[in-house]
């Protein structure tokens, strides 16, 4: 049984975080390169704005806010799963090479396949997914030992190696490409939220709608996997099967997010960790908190990055790394 007080505390935190997300979203909608002042937000939202105000709000800022929120949520969830199955608090889709796998696939797709405007947007998450999946597969195989099963620590090490080598591969691919495509890929790598338009929201949303309930359904399995292998086996979890299914889900979430936002690491590391320190390690409790924190973090980072210098801003990926890496080091120091 979960204590009543804990549930109560968790509800409070969820409510507070929701407000925080909402407030950040409003602030984010109100500031930026094009002028759209706060007192004009509500009228514009209700359809009384000028053409320019409506354009800025509905076609530029809102989709971007929604995308960053969703992507942050997906990354946080992905990180939470990875930390569960590797039993390592430092696992993150960006750090262990899943992002760069998606990146290589996207660069290849960009360079060697003709681009059709209609289906292109919806193809990207699939392409990223395939790249990320292949990478995850190799990392999994190479950190698997027939006698002991999956070795969580080795998984992290192998992942770091992969992420470095794949970045190298990406440079090779880029170096044989046309100039404009190179610029796009370079920006993608830095984690520039490039897919800030409604079709991209639609491309990202289904993954979350399917996978969030699925992970909640699996929450108890994740709790057990996090304990220790003998315990998990003892209570009847078929470890390898669960691990593979959950790994697939984590890869899908990370890949779909990264395909729209570009290479963003550390969210999947920070959000679950902060959430765990707030409400404890039960997945049922900390997942909603982690999801909200993830969404908020990315939105926050992007809002700052977008406004630090105008008009181009600093890519969200860079901002997140500036916040996330010190946090990661702090974690390493504490462990």
């Amino acid at each position: 049984m979960i204590q009543k007080e804990l549930i109560h505390k968790q509800r409070m935190i969820v409510v507070i975080l929701s407000f925080l997300v909402l407030a950040t979203a409003i602030i984010s909608a109100g500031i930026g390169y094009s002028s759209l002042s706060f007192d004009r937000l509500l009228p514009t939202l209700l359809g009384h704005g000028t053409f320019k105000e409506e354009f800025v709000l509905f076609s530029v800022r809102l989709p971007r806010i929604v995308i960053t929120l969703l992507a942050g949520m997906a990354l946080a969830l992905s990180g939470a799963i990875l930390q569960g199955i590797t039993r390592n608090d430092l696992a993150d889709p960006g750090i262990i090479g899943i992002n760069s796998g998606a990146g290589v696939a996207i660069s290849l797709f960009f360079l060697f396949f003709p681009i059709q405007p209609g289906s292109f947007v919806y193809m990207l998450p699939f392409v990223a997914f395939i790249g990320a999946l292949l990478t995850a597969f190799f990392i999994y195989i190479l950190s698997y030992n027939r006698k002991v099963g999956l070795q969580p620590e080795r998984l992290v090490l192998v992942g770091i190696g992969f992420s470095m080598a794949l970045s190298g591969l990406m440079i090779v691919i880029i170096s044989s490409a046309e100039r404009q495509k190179v610029d796009f890929i370079a920006k993608w790598l830095a984690g520039n939220i490039w897919g800030a338009d409604w079709p991209f929201v639609l491309a990202l949303l289904p993954w979350l709608i399917v996978l969030i309930p699925f992970i909640f359904y699996k929450a108890n399995k994740l709790n057990l996997l996090g304990l220790s292998e003998p315990v998990a086996v003892g209570v009847g979890v078929s470890i390898e099967k669960e691990r593979i299914v959950l790994l697939l889900a984590a890869v899908a979430l990370a890949a779909s997010a990264v395909s729209v936002t570009g290479g963003i690491a550390f969210i999947g590391l920070m959000a679950p960790h902060i959430a765990k320190s707030l409400v404890g390690p039960r997945y049922q409790l900390f997942l909603p908190v982690a999801i909200l924190i993830g969404g908020w973090l990315l939105l926050f980072a992007d809002t700052i990055g977008r406004n630090v210098i105008e008009p181009n801003g600093i890519p969200a990926g860079v901002m997140v790394a500036l916040i996330g890496a010190p946090y990661f080091m702090y974690l390493l120091l504490k462990k």
Partner: protein, 332 residues
């Protein structure tokens, strides 16, 4: 005595391989040249288009490859010796990214800095990056476990690359920075080499002089102290050498991970675990490796160049995995 004779033979074989590879690297490339041209460029006063090209473009470039390969390999060997960590490498442990960040800051704030100034900035940056990683690794007891050090290195590198990216975008110098960091050996010229080579030579010389101490240190800290070694002093000097070597390499070629990781492992398979043999052999193998990578980079996709760093990174991954695999049981 016997072992040193055997080593001399291996060393001579290595040197001749290096020379052969150097000739291969000089002959192949986007512009057609023959061995005759290479000979004339090196040993005669003749002048022609081909010969000038070899002298002014390809020759400094291959010398750069040799110097950088040697420097990175030696710095990797020293780091692996001091930390007793098979995964130590200047690229993995934050030195490269530190130098990179320092480069970005220098180009942004003092755009008129000359080459020497940039080189010194790279030294400082490499030192900062290394100190960050090592302090995270060393604060806790048993901090030098490979996993911790590599994780700390990955985090510090991510942070410092983000700093470099941010500074580059903020001050609108990202083009200049990427010219440096992704450029590899493209456009290496004699005036750069004149500044870099002294630093690297001094670094390699000191490490050769200290190689016996390094062997003792690499066995066991207590043994080293027991044999009367001033471990703190030796470590400090070696640390400075590593920073000199890695910083100078970054100043010349930008980011280059895995060389310092791969070469000492190859070398250990050839000459064993004595650093008096490992360090000179690392110089040779590192140089050969960089020459191969650079020649591949220039010839895979003529007339375009494939960055050397990328080729090295792809060659390095299997190695990294192998080392992780081999040390599997001991990873805690």
């Amino acid at each position: 005595m016997k072992s040193s004779i055997r080593f001399s033979i291996k060393f001579i074989i290595g040197l001749s391989l290096l020379f052969a590879m150097f000739i291969v690297a000089m002959v192949f490339g986007a512009a057609e040249t023959s061995i005759q041209d290479v000979w004339n460029a090196l040993f005669s006063n003749l002048k022609s288009d081909q010969i000038n090209l070899l002298r002014e473009i390809r020759f400094p470039r291959e010398v750069g490859a040799i110097v950088v390969g040697a420097a990175l390999a030696v710095s990797g060997a020293i780091m692996q010796g001091i930390t007793r960590n098979p995964l130590a490498d200047p690229g993995l442990l934050g030195l490269t990214s530190g130098a990179n960040a320092a480069l970005a800051v220098t180009l942004a704030l003092l755009p008129t800095t000359n080459y020497l100034g940039i080189t010194i900035a790279c030294f400082i940056g490499a030192a900062v990056g290394a100190i960050m990683v090592f302090s995270i690794g060393a604060i806790k007891k048993g901090g030098f476990s490979p996993l911790r050090i590599v994780l700390a290195g990955a985090a510090v590198s991510a942070f410092l690359y983000a700093v470099a990216d941010g500074v580059g975008i903020y001050f609108k110098v990202s083009k200049d920075i990427s010219m440096w960091t992704a450029g590899g050996l493209i456009g290496t010229n004699w005036s750069q080499l004149n500044i870099i080579i002294p630093f690297i030579s001094i670094g390699i010389l000191i490490s050769l002089l200290l190689s016996r101490q390094l062997t003792i240190l690499s066995l066991n800290e207590e043994v080293a102290v027991g044999l009367g070694q001033k471990t703190v002093q030796i470590k400090t000097i070696l640390f400075i050498v590593v920073i000199l070597l890695a910083g100078a390499s970054v100043a010349l070629v930008g980011n280059m991970a895995f060389v310092g990781l791969m070469v000492p492992h190859i070398v250990r398979a050839i000459v064993g675990t004595d650093y008096r043999f490992i360090i000179p052999m690392s110089v040779i193998v590192g140089a050969i490796l960089m020459l191969i990578a650079d020649t591949l980079g220039r010839t895979i996709n003529i007339p375009y160049e494939t960055p050397v760093a990328a080729i090295i990174a792809i060659m390095g991954l299997p190695f990294f995995l192998l080392i992780v695999r081999k040390g599997g049981g001991a990873f805690r």
